[in-house]
Symmetry: C2
Subunit: 135 residues, 2 copies
Amino acid sequence: MTYTITEVAAKFGLSAYTIRYYDKAGILPFVRRNQAGNRQFDEVDVDWLRLVCCLKNTGMALKDIKAYSDLARQGSDTGAARQAMLRQHKQAVLQQIADLQANLELIETKIDFYADPQNKALMDHLKELEQQHRA
Amino acid sequence: MTYTITEVAAKFGLSAYTIRYYDKAGILPFVRRNQAGNRQFDEVDVDWLRLVCCLKNTGMALKDIKAYSDLARQGSDTGAARQAMLRQHKQAVLQQIADLQANLELIETKIDFYADPQNKALMDHLKELEQQHRA
DNA sequence: TTATCACTTAGAGTTAACTCTAAGTCAAGC
DNA sequence: GCTTGACTTAGAGTTAACTCTAAGTGATAA
């Protein structure tokens, strides 16, 4: 089973433009062409693109995904280097999650602040003071 | 206690350029100037910038932070609207965390794959087959 | 009082990641 | 045989978010 660029784009919620951009950028190392010169994606390519999207969606820059792809293109003896990149990226993702959770607390605190009628009254009062002060 | 733009920039790990850019963009509604025309940040401004950074770091676009700031500038009777924005953003952040955690699983699967010596041998074999196939 | 330094402005330049345009090719259907 | 439609290319254009430059101001130190 093979897929056209349009089918693959739809599968991953990307545009065909984006897929071609990724291919130009060198991060789709294995995609082949049919006799007409059109890109023909097989299961290996789809799996590869799934990982590319995963890395992109977790904040890896395309130039780093390119570096990872270059390792893959070089052959199976780069496995250790690729694993090292993924380990490092895993730590970055864990840090992102921790940062989001910390930021979430501030957002929740703000929401609670607006929800509290006592703070509402306080805010009205502060606002009056501020307006006087800043006038 | 007040702060200069350089002090505030350092406090939040931003450049002074970025702070001015935010001010130009209208997302620092309360910052005043001293007699020389220089920005003078008080505790209210620092607290505001902390929230701005929180929203930015959780993926809110500056135009949306601008919309939030415009509400704040309009006065305390926009509290409900601001709370609604924060509630919606909270959901977006929860979704981001869930997405990161899902992607993390794929990354971990890949790391484990590279770590398994059986897969290493399998990969070497597949690679040979692929090279023959793609030659 | 002259130099230095931190700030000011408007506006130009940069970067990443797309996003699209124009012109062309190829296979399928009428 | 001709049109239609999905693909191809190179390269230009877009957007968000900075990032910097140039020219100028005002307060402090030698």
